[in-house]
Symmetry: C2
Subunit: 372 residues, 2 copies
Amino acid sequence: MDSSDISGNVHLSDAQRIDWLRLIRSDHVGPLTFRSLLKHFGSARTALERLPDLARRGGASRPGRICGEQEAEAEFEACKKLGVSLLAPGEAGYPPRLSVLDDAPPLLAVRGATDVLMRPVIAIVGSRNASGAGLKFAGTLAHDLSDAGFVIASGLARGIDQAAHRASLSGGTVAVLAGGHDRIYPPEHEDLLAGILQAGGAAISEMPLGHAPRARDFPRRNRLISGVALGVVVVEAAHRSGSLITARIAAEQGREVFAVPGSPLDPRAAGTNDLIKQGATLTTCAADVINAVEPIMGRPIELGEPDGEPPAHDPDASDRTRITGLLGPSPIGLDDLIRMAGTSPAIVRTVLLELELAGRLERHGGGLVSLI
Amino acid sequence: MDSSDISGNVHLSDAQRIDWLRLIRSDHVGPLTFRSLLKHFGSARTALERLPDLARRGGASRPGRICGEQEAEAEFEACKKLGVSLLAPGEAGYPPRLSVLDDAPPLLAVRGATDVLMRPVIAIVGSRNASGAGLKFAGTLAHDLSDAGFVIASGLARGIDQAAHRASLSGGTVAVLAGGHDRIYPPEHEDLLAGILQAGGAAISEMPLGHAPRARDFPRRNRLISGVALGVVVVEAAHRSGSLITARIAAEQGREVFAVPGSPLDPRAAGTNDLIKQGATLTTCAADVINAVEPIMGRPIELGEPDGEPPAHDPDASDRTRITGLLGPSPIGLDDLIRMAGTSPAIVRTVLLELELAGRLERHGGGLVSLI
């Protein structure tokens, strides 16, 4: 994934796409690990061949499941039937701002019009049990931003999400799903999704077909909502609501965070008022959003920090013992770990990759890792 | 008015107080001119003697009215009967933070308990036609700040002012009046005022007894509301409301400005949301105010910039012609004027003083002056 990724010039061959799909659907391989493996071995095919060996070195008692070729081909065909493309970062239709994130999905399942995903996107999120005023405001804001040329992304949920999608149908709107494309949540929003697709919008997911969304999939999904967007507007959010997770992730991704104020006596404004206290832009109209993102739109999309070089040699047993010994259940920063390990960053990263594939390592935000 | 002013160590003699009262009640003498005259002539008595001459030199067709001794004594006695003290900056009971402002009233008419005026004050202001939620929030905030040891200042108006006063009666609250102490506005709030005084609070005014407040007196009064306070909280305010004037003046005075957010669909929150966009602190609870003003309370109160020295000699006719010629109906900065005049700052200030006393000069904010 070099700088050509974001120009829409990447194109995987069918065989490559099947390899990528097998790798990302294998046990213990998330987007970050996928990226490390690709960097380390140069291709998904080689990585697949080496997975069992790496996991064994990392101390796996039994090897994780590797997605077979037939299984991947079956998913690929099922996607085709549903009109879903599996796109790699840098391919046309893969949202450019999402493609440069460290944890960008290696293959994004895209249904509907891919061109909307290449245009500037604003995400609008908020409470499922929104007030009438909140729903009305979300609709007005989505409509005005849509009129100004922005694509509106949201999570297809009840409440604010629904109001934002509905008000931006004609300008193009993107539903970001927590489950597979054939497992719409909530089920009664299948009509809304059909309307979005018919009007020239799109739906995206990183999950396989047949995957019914679980509670933990929603925070994970939320990084995609902010990831595709220039900025995220939180319309109504109580304390500790899911929309605040989206706002936090958005800030970590360097996205603009906007929040709509409300009365201190309205619990549905508690979260948004807090966001403003913490630095989010107070938003009462589309101009507040447009003024803040316009300067960003003019700038080239920045790539994430590149990974280090692959190691000159494999880690030996003493490297593994030393580095694993430095890890524990408390998260530690990768930089600290590299300093304490007294060996090359590439060796440390390789040992971490082995541990991860053995299902023994957990990666947290901000480059922190811990043993499971 | 030197640094001892703010320590409560100043005390005027009866004769001095009468002279000060005569001077500030004379035509064309506002707080700024009063201050210049006192600096220039050393005492109010000397200034009173020189007023007609200065005004004539400034080009007055007929001399402005000078308040006579009997008139001043009558006001002084009437004040006593009503329990009103006329206090100079630096005297005990004169709010310390107000005393260091350039345009602090030379004599502040104080009724009620003077000790509350020496304690840390927070002003709470807002719409007269406030919503139920706004009134409730103003009450809660005033109560909580009062509990935390702050005195609450407001303007005795209907709506937010009234709610703030009522909720802080027991902790001490200050009504800042736009008219004389015997001309309460609105008249139906005489009971509220009586309650404030009975509970150990105070009322202050810079206007003479018998002065019924006119529309233009309210913006002038608003500088006292913010002037006595560490910070001003605006609870509900529509676009272009009087509370926003108070907020602007507060910012100019270096006061903290707090604003309570509201829904973008609520016109009564339009002004407060705008204030937050412009940098006011979003406020949903007393802690937001306390956290912001606590560091300020620890610092000594800063004096305004000292005036320059009085001139070594009076301006001559050519000084007057040159300086008056540089002035026009468009406001010009004092610094620019001094630079262009090619003479000493003291001479320029004296000519301006003469023009002012002749009723020919208008002083604007930010050191700007223009000919009338």
